[in-house]
Amino acid sequence: MTSSFVVMDPTGESSPAARAPLALPMSVQGKVVALLDISKPRGDVFLNRVEEKLKAAGATVRRYSKPTFTRPAPTALRQQIADECDLVLEALAD
């Protein structure tokens, strides 16, 4: 090549806003913890065991589920969890 070459950017030209994760809690004692089942087979088996452990550690556990694992959680469900709980655990995949 003897001269510069201009191309157009095929990307969305957007980069997600950087969001720092919240500090991990030192204890779940007294916290309300959401367990989000994404509706994959046997996710409940795993979450039942997690619930036992969390209750033993002094947490209050609330259970939620997505209508289907193939789509992002509905906005209303995300808002409900954020409103009712301090922490959330999501069981991904099977």
Binding site: S3, S4, G12
Partner: protein, 469 residues
């Protein structure tokens, strides 16, 4: 309100030279601006403005010179392109204007629409970021390095190529088609055009590519989950209607294979939009365990079979509409039956092959497309069977007792809960099996294209979307 006029001319135009007396008359009126495209000294009257960049002509949409435009309070109220004496007289309210000239004389193309200016001006209006590659950079390597390809070389999307691509549609480049998963990034017609250039499309393919992107973003298609799944699937595109023939798409021999530019690049363009605009990349949000080669591109045309309802009609569109049908597809599984000469045994062969989609004991999960070749279609046509009759026979052949499908049956752990042993099940959900016609004239071979295990409201449904030209 105030009346004003604009006349656009160029010296290299015999008609503009012919109307020189008219231009001289108008220049003296005070309410007329003369704009010249190629020679600031033409016409030789005071106050001529020079549109050397051609941007004013372009923005005014001038196609032919001389052009006379009338404005009222800055808003255009009329125009005449070329010399038409009565029209010019009417626009400026001067019945004596150009009385000595011929009544009618066509003009010449405006410089703002002729090569290379038209292309440059259209490209200037595009919004996408320009990236200047280094003088010593190899263009192809630079595009690979930026992660813009699917692993194969791409056509560099220069502004001029993107501008030419956009000539393939009447839609506004700025129109937003939706949000592309997984990053839910708004995608414009222009961004689709950039990726269509990368994919190797011709401009006339663009309406199909745009429709394909629109279809992929319809909620029932569930493109987000399809991208993110560990399963094999990716979008398959079937083009139906006269546009498939107009673009020279392949619906016949090797329709599911390589070698046809439109088939290859339309499917590829969709994948590049998901990758580049949406940010969906293998081993990123694309969690496919194995994937399938159709994730480079998987697009073909439906064969025109006058004896059967086509995909347009299946979707409630007119037979001669233009549409794309998208399906969350895996690979191609061949079916051989060279002996059947009547419909029933052929349906049995098809059914046995369809049973194994996902797993022989999985039911009501994945959808499937059955691609029926001409020699197999002939068996149905000779017996006068409609598409609906074939589907009904297949549904019957694909209904099995729960005892064959429960866990442990056949020595396989995969299967339904034992409590369902007493029921019977169809292999596919209602509407989950679709028939499409394609293929070469010779060969009693058809094909099963299995789909994503998450179908219907749980995951993806096939969608048919009309193409807007």
């Amino acid at each position: 309100m105030s009346q004003s006029y604009l006349v656009v001319v160029k010296a290299d135009c015999p008609t503009c030279q012919l109307v020189l007396p008219v231009l001289e008359t108008l220049a003296g009126r005070g309410d007329v601006t003369l704009l010249t495209q190629d020679d600031p000294a033409f016409p030789a009257v005071p106050g001529v403005e020079y549109d050397g960049s051609l941007e004013r002509s372009f923005d005014l949409g001038i196609e032919i010179v001389p052009a006379l435009l009338a404005f009222d309070g800055g808003i255009e109220t009329g125009r005449c392109e070329g010399w038409e004496r009565s029209a010019w007289q009417g626009l400026v309210g001067d019945s004596a204007l150009g009385a000595d000239l011929p009544a009618l004389r066509p003009g010449c193309a405006s410089l703002s629409v002729t090569p290379p200016h038209g292309e440059r001006l259209r490209a200037q209006r595009l919004a996408s970021r320009r990236i200047t590659l280094g003088v010593e950079e190899d263009v192809q390597e630079a595009l690979f390095d930026r992660g813009w390809t699917d692993g194969l070389p791409v056509v560099p999307p220069t502004p001029e190529r993107v501008a030419r691509m956009l000539e393939g549609t009447t839609r506004d480049p700025r129109e937003v088609l939706g949000e592309v998963p997984p990053n839910l990034v708004p995608v414009t017609v222009e961004k689709v055009a950039v990726n269509a250039v990368l994919a190797g499309c011709k401009p006339e393919y663009l309406p199909v590519v745009v429709a394909t992107v629109e279809a992929a973003l319809l909620p029932p298609f569930c493109m987000h989950g399809l991208l993110a799944t560990t399963y094999f699937s990716g979008p398959m595109v079937v083009v139906c209607g006269p546009i498939a023939r107009a673009l020279g798409m392949n619906s016949k021999g090797n329709a599911l294979g390589q070698g046809n530019r439109a088939n290859a690049t339309i499917g590829r363009a969709l994948q590049l939009v998901i990758r580049n605009v949406g940010g969906g990349r293998p081993q990123g949000v694309d969690r496919a365990t194995l994937g399938n080669p159709g994730k480079y591109t998987f697009c073909f045309a439906e064969d025109d079979d006058p004896q059967w309802q086509n995909l347009n009609e299946d979707a409630g569109l007119a037979r001669n509409a233009n549409s794309v049908t998208l399906f969350a597809a895996d690979g191609v599984q061949g079916i051989v039956d060279q002996k059947a000469r009547t419909p029933e045994p052929l349906c049995r062969s098809f059914a046995e092959a369809l049973k194994v989609v996902s797993h022989p004991k999985m039911v009501q999960a994945a959808d499937a497309f059955l691609v029926i070749s001409p020699e197999h279609a002939r068996v149905f046509h000779d017996a006068g069977w409609s598409k609906a009759q074939v589907l009904a026979a297949l549904r019957a052949d694909l209904t099995r007792p729960g005892t064959e499908l429960i866990r442990g049956a056949g020595g396989m752990e995969e299967g339904l809960p034992p409590a369902l042993a007493k029921r019977s099940f169809e292999k596919f959900r209602e509407g989950g099996l679709r028939l499409v016609r394609a293929g070469g004239e010779a060969g009693m071979f058809s094909a099963v294209i299995g789909g994503w295990g998450a179908s219907g409201t749980i995951g993806s449904s096939p969608v048919t979307h009309e193409i807007r030209l």
